[in-house]
């Protein structure tokens, strides 16, 4: 297996943290997104959508979409009810609540941060279309999404409930990418700040 990725971005980091939590070593190769390598033929043959991360399996199959890649890694070392670390859950209800929250964070906070990056900042030189008003709207949406997570975390230690999961990984990567864009967690969101201290102190956060 080999992961084609780009160190600085939030989505590849989701996969790196997930693999670190599972104790899975991944060979990695950088696709220089700033230099536009993701849109060159070599990478488009791996992923016609031009996205990173993309995982190459030993049989030559390419898998993309971060959450799908993580589910594949989970299948290599599946958690059970007795596992300490159930990133995708172990019972059907746990699994579906984690997937629900992971999608809420991906389509909510992470999407808003990415849209602000591409439209409201200088973004990538390869971004052909830029809509600054849309970018600024997404900047305000980041605050809305952080508030929603703060509310959830007032009653829960972690985003999908009482154990660390994929949803926390996605939120951590989104929040750290927002911080790079000078959007910190507001002081009003103390539950989110407390959670951030907890998850960012895990060894996997260095991945």
């Amino acid at each position: 297996m080999k992961l084609y990725e780009y160190n600085a971005f939030a989505n590849p980091r989701r996969v790196r943290i997930f693999a670190a939590e599972k104790g899975i070593q991944l060979k990695r190769e950088q696709v220089d997104v700033l230099a536009g390598e993701h849109l060159q033929t070599e990478h488009l043959q791996r992923n016609p959508y031009g996205a990173v991360p993309t995982l190459e399996l030993d049989d030559g199959t390419y898998i993309s979409e971060s959450a799908a890649i993580c589910r594949y890694l989970e299948g290599l070392k599946p958690a059970n009810v007795n596992s300490e670390n159930k990133l995708l859950g172990s019972t059907p209800k746990e699994q579906v609540l984690i997937e629900m929250w992971d999608r809420r964070v991906e389509n909510g906070l992470l999407s808003a941060v990415a849209s602000f990056f591409h439209h409201g900042t200088e973004g990538l030189a390869t971004d052909k279309y830029r809509n600054n008003e849309w970018g600024q709207h997404n900047k305000t949406q980041i605050a809305t999404e952080m508030k929603r997570l703060d509310e959830q975390l007032r009653d829960n230690n972690y985003i999908a409930g009482n154990t660390f999961s994929m949803a926390d990984i996605t939120a951590l990567c989104a929040i750290d990418f927002a911080a790079l864009l000078n959007i910190p967690i507001s002081d009003e969101h103390s539950a989110l700040q407390g959670w951030y201290g907890l998850v960012s102190s895990r060894a996997s956060a260095a991945a």
Copy 2:
């Protein structure tokens, strides 16, 4: 179980078609999105993000995000390698390729259609923010996304490979919603048109 949904929209239809394919009967209740019922307290207590569909389990748990709801339904009647109907796949590789394609369609075509609806047409009366330029950009993105699916379907009977799957359901719902907005499949995309004839003739498409 009860599904809170809105008949006319693409995401609730994904769940209805999935349930029909699995032979699962769902009690349904309409949330009148045009009248803003999705943003009223009663529905926000089911789903703080205000989205439909939302599935209420018999123990009172609410599950949202269409793909997560479908995965829950799959868990009630799981497919195996011998099943005729493997909407989420049966082997790990099948499962992850279906998830990859379902996410590509959701984040690609379906997202572009929804963004065009909310920003480039009259959308919903409850849409507080509207950015017509963003809406028109998404209209051109719909053509790009349909072209990608057309290319995939030149070599495959179905979107994720040789069997009907969740990814086909998502694409069918996105394409029918685009048609409602007067965006048909282009005549250039003959593979996509052939696939459309195939999947829209399944009994479940009436759901």
